[in-house]
């Protein structure tokens, strides 16, 4: 250590970083250690004991396989739908909205200014059986006279899609906005049809935005439990609902901790693959 500091007299960066790193270390890294520690315990509340209970992981996985599958399925659908919904909108803002782009961009972020729970609850109003949406769907016979949208898989996935939409739209916008219009002109001059220009120039150049948006949408969506709780039934419960209930209601900390750990591990594994593909500097900005 001494030799290290001797070779690098610049202690300043470490002093600047120390308080923040200490906070993240103590309240982000150390807790992950405690989560691992808790996940290897056995027993019944409040008498948990650390016993290298490795079987907690396969047990948790097999017992709640359906919840994991549902989480990744719902998150996957919500992410894909967000991408399809966001791309044309953001494309329009980046290339057609003119000087008022920022205003439209603000419209994308605006849902964030309404509390998460409350904008989810708003869908209870919109999709209520007595409401205009369900009424219309019944009139055109998409839904039967006694069918509704609320408390179905559709409602949960729609809620997740809406709630994480800005996470998809913003990085997409950033990547589209950076595209040099001269490249599209060049494509045109070289006889590319608008479709070809889009597929060969715009789409590849927006790939970083697609990847970032996919990640930023998928990760929180996979851990979500609010949409399933408020807009679904026990049949739509995701892994987040189980973790939440185990931690705060049935006080089964070891199972809850192993489930959190498995979720985290699955996501980190995905992230590492991604980091290898695009490089850490791009990933961390």
């Amino acid at each position: 250590m001494g030799a290290f500091f001797h070779r690098h007299p610049g202690l300043t960066p470490y002093l600047l970083l120390a308080p923040g790193l200490a906070w993240l270390g103590l309240f982000f890294l150390v807790p992950l250690g405690y989560l691992a520690y808790q996940s290897l315990q056995s027993g019944v509340y409040p008498g948990f004991e650390f016993s290298w209970e490795v079987s907690n992981f396969p047990d948790a996985l097999s017992e709640y396989r359906e919840h994991f599958q549902r989480s990744f399925l719902y998150a996957g659908i919500a992410t894909s739908v967000s991408l399809l919904l966001a791309y044309p909108l953001v494309y329009w803002i980046a290339f057609r909205a003119g000087p008022w782009r920022n205003l439209f961009l603000l419209a994308i972020v605006a849902p964030f200014f309404v509390s998460y729970l409350i904008r989810t609850l708003a869908w209870l109003n919109i999709l209520a059986d007595e409401g205009p949406v369900v009424g219309l769907l019944r009139d055109i016979h998409v839904l039967g006279a006694d069918e509704g949208v609320l408390f179905t898989t559709l409602a949960v996935v729609a809620g997740i899609t809406y709630n994480f939409f800005p996470f998809m739209a913003l990085p997409l916008y950033v990547s589209l906005e950076q595209i040099d219009p001269r490249l599209l002109e060049a494509a045109k001059d070289l006889y590319a049809s608008p479709t070809q220009a889009f597929l060969r120039v715009t789409l590849p150049l927006s790939a970083p935005g697609i990847v970032a948006g996919t990640l930023l949408t998928f990760i929180p969506a996979a851990g979500d439990f609010i949409n399933a709780e408020l807009l679904g039934t026990p049949k739509q419960q995701m892994i987040g609902n189980v973790i939440q209930a185990k931690f705060l209601e049935s006080l089964d900390y070891p199972t809850a901790a192993s489930l959190s750990f498995v979720l985290m591990a699955l996501i980190v594994a995905g992230l590492l693959v991604y980091a290898r593909l695009v490089g850490t500097e791009k990933l961390t900005g």
């Binding site: 970083l17 270390g25 439209f104 309404v114 919109i126 705060l248 809850a256």
Partner: protein, 287 residues
């Protein structure tokens, strides 16, 4: 632009292509309008139902217009306290996280040092971890050590932890475009490091720091998941809403949400207008 040179083959294609382009442009604009309506719809509903006078327990169906909910916004037991707690934690956590995050951003951007990559990863990780894992792991720390009792201060700790990364990223963006010659000039004119920092660095960084702080405050006020795991019996506004959502949501909750939305949107709109004017002034100023 360059089309004049290749008139013959393009002119024939031109008509169809132009019609298609016009249609596409039109379709795209209509789509964008619809998408924005979709994004705004729940917000409109939240505000609309803050003026509703529900007849039963549930505020799901429109009944009658009233201003009572706005006038008596705190008539629901526990609502005012939860809003106050949210604001207190928001302000405190934002202040601390802004200081920590700004210092970190300066360290990361301005110095080449061993561990820079690892630091970047450590800053990035909390942003890419699902909230439920952040909340759950912090809860296991608090459960397994007897130093902390769940409540106000554990929420504060949690909020600083998850906000700080966002502030680092925001301030970093500002620092990267920073002209260091200004600082060198100040030093050449005899200012010491502290004076240079106070008179040059800080004012130039201020927009980035302010943006980071606003983002942090917004995240703190809105956070439910991490807070819920570490709140114990303490109630922030979102925790209060969660509790009451299982029974029935009174319109006063919509009032508070609408008020928060209107304040936030006013600040953001002000910022957009200011940027627009600045951009226009710059264009006009240019020869």
């Amino acid at each position: 632009m360059t089309t004049t040179a290749v008139t013959a083959p393009r002119a024939r294609l031109g008509l169809g292509a132009r019609a298609w382009k016009a249609a596409k442009r039109h379709v795209l604009t209509v789509y964008a309008a619809l998408a924005i309506v979709y994004l705004m719809l729940p917000i409109a509903v939240v505000i609309l139902f803050s003026f509703n006078e529900p007849t039963g327990r549930f505020n799901y169906v429109w009944q009658e217009f009233t201003l009572d909910n706005w006038v008596n916004w705190d008539s629901v037991l526990g609502l005012r306290e939860s809003v106050v707690t949210s604001l207190e934690i928001g302000v405190l956590a934002t202040l601390v996280a802004t200081v920590l995050g700004t210092l970190m951003a300066m360290g990361i951007v301005r110095y080449a040092f061993r561990g820079r990559g690892a630091t970047n990863v450590l800053v990035f990780l909390p942003m890419s971890t699902p909230e439920i894992v952040l909340g759950a792991s912090l809860l296991t720390l608090f459960l397994n050590t007897s130093v902390f009792t769940l409540g106000f201060w554990t929420i504060f700790i949690a909020h600083v932890m998850f906000i700080v990364s966002f502030i680092v990223v925001t301030v970093k963006a500002r620092l990267i475009g920073f002209d260091r010659h200004l600082e060198e000039a100040a030093m050449d004119l005899g200012a010491n490091e502290w004076t240079t920092f106070r008179k040059i660095t800080l004012p130039l960084l201020a927009p980035g720091i302010l943006a980071g702080a606003l983002l942090g405050f917004a995240l703190s006020i809105d956070d439910f998941v991490i807070t819920y795991f570490n709140a114990g019996g303490e109630q922030t506004f979102p925790v209060f809403v969660w509790g009451i959502a299982r029974v029935s949501v009174p319109p006063q909750v919509n009032v508070v949400a609408s008020a928060i939305f209107l304040v936030a949107i006013a600040i953001a709109l002000g910022n957009v207008l200011w940027q627009y004017r600045a951009a226009r002034a710059q264009r006009q100023g240019a020869p």
